[in-house]
Every structure is written in structure tokens, then in C-alpha cells.
Symmetry: C2
Subunit: 176 residues, 2 copies
């Protein structure tokens, strides 16, 4: 799929069919994620693909009860160690969140190109996700997303409005 | 350009021709960024397009002397207010960095599709960038990127190796 079409097609999909993802599709989507850039090319990320039928509802429950997530074939848990990332962003902060976000954005766009749905999940209880999946304490869970076939055609998925460019762009200096 | 080709084409471009960016190209690239998702659709981002010939070298200097950045037609300064973002990521942290990273990732892929180069810049002195561009103290500068025509053909740009999937993917539970 054309890049701009993938960007326009991507939506937050909250209703899934449980159909499995063919191996070749899965490989392309993961490869898109693997190729993402990261600060200092440190690639501090780890991705847990939760496919177990008993675990998926438990992970969804740890996402503050977003039970619908469990219907997707896979729940991707994106995480990593700050110790493995670049500590000098802006001179003082850690790149882990940015690095993982870039990789997961690649995955969401590749998913859209393959007719798969995703939905960025930031509302979750980190301690519960860690406990369920045996994630060590020094690993931060940055975000999750279901990955699976949408129950509704992408063109029918609700889309939220975006601010106009005039509101988010300044020229040469801060303008508002 | 096809999504996967854009992902493979994107590289960290550190040498630019100063050629201006045609208006239609610029609009498509900014539109790709505008359409990015964000936690709660809050779109807490602001992007300053630095094109002024006197300012660009100063911004490059604030990026710890990465003078080559100034050769690109535009330097994009991606920033935003934590107060405008979602505060409940994982139960306890702010989404601003993730939101801005998603939008900037869209921009880097659109740029690649248009034959433009970018380079994620995390090494910068936030206070200096703020002062140069009049950015308020409550606005965080998340990252910058030059945006312009590469001096080297994309296929000749150096590419850094990535970890194999086996090293970054776990199944159902944390595996390493």
C-alpha cells in the first residue's frame, strides 16, 4: 500500500475478528518495526507477542478492563530498558519512550497496509502487565496494541478530527 | 511511494543540498504528520519550521555543534506542553514524548517517500533552543530534524544494522 494511503487508513480499531494472521503478513509487519531508527541506533526495545488464549484476556484486563483487546489474534506489548537507551535527549532525558514509539508507529502503519487493525494503548497498569508476563522490574512497559483483523472495514472505522496545520505549525519562532 | 519502500529508504541523512522544498511536497509531508494519532487524540504537539538563513546555523549550534543540519532547507523543531498531553500512560507518566515521536515518525516516512532526507536529533541543549526560538518554559522540546534534499542519493546513504527479530521479540512471556 502507498505510504499516504496507509497513514490515512490507520485508525484506532477497537473491534476485532479472531482470525489468525498469516505468517508472511506477520513477518512483513514485524520487519517494518525492526527497521525503525532509535537514538544512537541502540534499539533498546523488546516486543512481547501475546497470543495465548488465556493470557490475552488477562492482559486486556490489566489495560484497565479494555476487554475488547483480547479478541485480536495478538496483543503486542512494547517495552524496553532505559539502561539500554540513550540518556542525553535534550541534554537530560532518556530516549526509551521515543524509540519504542517510533518502532510501534512503524508497526501500526505496516498493519494498516496489510488490512490489520491496531490501537495504541497507554491506559494500563504497568505492575499488572509486568506480573502477568514476567517482565523484570527494570523494564518499562511503554505501550501496547492489539494486532488483528478489524471487525469493521477500515473505511467505516470512526476517525477523530485533527487540529488544522495553522494551529500546530509555527514559522521560525514560537508563535502562540 | 509504497509504505515498505519508504521504511527501507528512510535513513539518517547528515549531508544536504540547500534546494527549497516545493509547496506541494511540503504540504503532503506536513499533512502526514498532522494525521498522526496521539493519546486521547489530544495532539499536544507544536512544530516550528526554521527556515531563516541566520537562525538555522544557530539552531544547529544548539544541537551541540551539528553544523551540517543548517544546510537543509528547513529544521523542524518538534515540541509541546505536557499539560496538553495525557498524564496516565502506564498509570503514571506523560504521553508527550510518545505523541510527538509518532507525529515526527510520520514526517520522516513521508519525507523519504518524497525524496527528502531527515535525521532524528536528540542531542541538543533545550535551554538554548528555547531561547533562540522564543519557546516558553512550559514547552518541552522533544526532538528536531533537518528536512531537505539529501546531497547523497538515498540508496547510497549508510545504513546501520538492526538487531535480528529473534533478539527483540518474545512470545507470550518475557524471554530474556
Amino acid at each position: 500500500m502507498e505510504l499516504y494511503e496507509a497513514i490515512r487508513t490507520r485508525a484506532s480499531v477497537r473491534k476485532y475478528r479472531p482470525d489468525p494472521i498469516p505468517e508472511d503478513v506477520r513477518e512483513r509487519v514485524l520487519e517494518a518495526m525492526r527497521l525503525a531508527p532509535s537514538a544512537g541506533n541502540k534499539q533498546p526495545w523488546r516486543f512481547i507477542l501475546v497470543e495465548d488464549a488465556d493470557l490475552r484476556p488477562q492482559v486486556a484486563q490489566a489495560c484497565n478492563g479494555q476487554a475488547w483487546m483480547a479478541d485480536a489474534a495478538v496483543i503486542v506489548v512494547a517495552c524496553g530498558r532505559e539502561a539500554d537507551a540513550y540518556g542525553g535527549m535534550g541534554g537530560y532525558w532518556n530516549s526509551l519512550d521515543v524509540d519504542v514509539a517510533i518502532a510501534l508507529d512503524h508497526l501500526t502503519l505496516a498493519a494498516a497496509a496489510e488490512g490489520l487493525g491496531t490501537c495504541w494503548i497507554g491506559s494500563f497498569k504497568e505492575a499488572e502487565v509486568r506480573k502477568l508476563l514476567g517482565i523484570p522490574d527494570d523494564v518499562k512497559v511503554v505501550a501496547l496494541t492489539p494486532l488483528g483483523y478489524p471487525a469493521v472495514a477500515p473505511e467505516q472505522a470512526p476517525r477523530k478530527p485533527r487540529k488544522p496545520l495553522a494551529e500546530i505549525i509555527s514559522h521560525d519562532r514560537w508563535e502562540r
